[in-house]
Amino acid sequence: MKNKIREVSVLFIVAIVSAFLLSFVYKNTKPVIEEYASKTLNENLLKAFPDSQVHFETVKNDTLWKVYKGEAIVGIVFRNGRRGYSSLIRPIVGVDSAGRVVKILIPKEGLAETPGLGMKVTEGWFQEQFSGLTLGEIWLRGDNENGKIDGITAATISSRAATAAVREGLEKFKCYLQGGVIEGEWYVDDLIQLSGVEDVEELIEDRLWKAKDRFVYLSYGEGFISQVGVLVSIWKDTVLAIHIQCPEEGMEETPGYGTMVASIEFESRFDNVYIGDIDEVDALSGATMTCEAVKKAIKSGYEELMGGSE
């Protein structure tokens, strides 16, 4: 018994000492790390919207920024992701007030496309093609008559994904250029994005909407700490797309773990999934509870809302 106490106390002391040491290091490095992060972000934003007189205001963390020149909004910068060949391609796109792409930037970091093929989306010549294009023109030449983008030879998937990420992001966020912000609940701007059209018919207040060719519903699931909201667009039995409430929109899951589910990459895992197969979607490691909450929200919302309306 005495031995046991000794053993445990040694472990305890070691742990205490290491905790003190770590908190000291953390305290000293945190400001440096944060400063660097904001510096890089600012640099990237400036690359996407090169104008020395502007400043950026974050609308959604890591996703949307408004660009101010003095008091006036002169454009937006957004970041939108689309799955490429083997990773999520997330271009940072600067848009001027006319809805024209100023510049795009696809950072190498976190990108795992095939070197020499898909990785070429990070090359200047590819990104420069986007400058000055409007919504209808952001297509690969082969895919659309108005397309003005030359794909990368032998890397169609990656170039198509990069192009689509820019186009879809532009479509999604262009409302911020007119009138500024859409007022209302957290899901309102995403509702427009998910319904595909601007005028939707509200079937059940704040819960269920009908668009031209799909339904959109809002549902909540019990997460690790809080309720997690999920906006789901669905047609027949197939989930078309989902949007998960992100921390900026009021989700209160464990930062760095639970909140990770509110990523475009995770959301894209639910694209075109049959409702019965929702459980098969891979969870994020470290955020099992929150992922379960999302899945539960999708399923329970479906049963509750769609069951009655059809």
Binding site: G116, L117, A154, T156, I157
Partner: protein
């Protein structure tokens, strides 16, 4: 003085040199065909590749003090097959590097002739595809004797093989032309875009027939490989999974070259009959999966390389020992 040698005191007329040079001979008509379709550059690249293979082997055997057997024919086969697996307008150094990798890394470092796990030429091709993907998969020239065989030219995609059109989600017109009898005929003759040695199904079949008759290659592997591709794509065609018919599938791309000359490589295929059937069928299934659902248009080389890995396992499928 009497000589002492172990029994048996007579041997069959087959020997390594005959087998190897037999295979080289079987590849000659294909080479001549590709010179006809693609011009003299095909021969140029092929010679470079062969020289590089032989030279690499010679150097290695010289440096490591082994018997010099760089002219036993196996290096020549590897050289030719590496060249057959690259597009004709590749830079000159591509086949040289490919053959070097095939012979040095894949063959000699594993112990030389008979000890390599992977087919050297295919591994060489895989190396080239991974290292210079745009040169290897986006660099097609139409044969000099015609346009790309009557395929409607897509904007921005003038340079494509019939097979690589498939992965670009083509429209109905293209699919119709891919399914047409003219297309099949062109693919059979070989007057189409593709790697140097893979386009002409006819000439490849002639060469392979010679090998089968001489017993230098096993027809079971070829039959099971190509046959399973045909059957599976046939089923998928009727189910609507793949838009093109099975005949197109087996004549396009490298199925013929791979199934007739690469999968049948003695060193890297199983020794038992049962093993060979399984090898061929699984290889065919893999090839279809890779073709239809993987990133590259072609799946032949990887399907065979993957099956190569299973050969030691398949060799354990021993036929029942007599009386056991």
């Amino acid at each position: 003085m009497l000589q002492l040698s172990p029994a048996p005191h007579i041997t069959s007329p087959k020997n390594i040199k005959k087998i190897m040079y037999g295979v080289v001979g079987a590849l000659i008509p294909v080479l001549m065909g590709s010179i006809y379709f693609f011009g003299w550059r095909a021969l140029f690249l092929c010679s470079l590749s062969v020289l590089s293979a032989i030279f690499t082997e010679w150097i290695f055997q010289r440096v490591t003090n082994r018997d010099i057997r760089c002219l036993d024919g196996s290096a020549i086969i590897t050289g030719i097959l590496v060249a057959f697996n690259i597009p004709v307008n590749s830079p000159w150094w591509l086949p040289v590097v490919g053959s070097f990798f095939a012979v040095f890394i894949v063959k000699q470092l594993f112990g030389g002739l008979g000890y390599n796990i992977f087919n050297p030429a295919l591994a060489g091709r895989a190396f080239l595809v991974a290292s210079w993907p745009s040169l290897m998969t986006g660099n097609w020239t139409p044969p000099i004797n015609g346009t790309l065989s009557g395929i409607p030219v897509l904007d921005g995609m003038t340079q494509a093989t019939p097979l690589s059109l498939l992965i670009m989600k083509p429209n109905l017109n293209v699919i119709q032309s891919l399914n047409s009898p003219t297309m099949i005929k062109t693919l059979f003759i070989g007057n189409t875009g593709g790697c140097i040695g893979e386009t002409s199904a006819l000439l490849l079949l002639i060469g392979a027939l010679f090998l089968f008759i001489m017993g230098y290659a096993d027809w079971r592997i070829s039959l099971s490989y190509i046959g399973s591709i045909f059957v599976i794509t046939g089923i998928f065609y009727f189910l609507g999974v793949t838009p093109v018919n099975p005949v197109f599938h087996i004549f396009s791309g490298g199925v013929m070259l791979g199934g007739l000359f690469m999968a049948t490589d003695m060193v890297t295929s199983p020794v038992t009959l049962k093993g060979r059937w399984i090898f061929g069928i699984c290889g065919g299934i893999l090839c279809v999966i890779l073709r239809l659902w993987a990133g590259y248009p072609e799946g032949v080389s990887y399907s065979i390389l993957i099956m190569n890995m299973f050969v030691p396992l398949l060799d354990r499928l021993q036929v029942r020992i007599f009386g056991r």
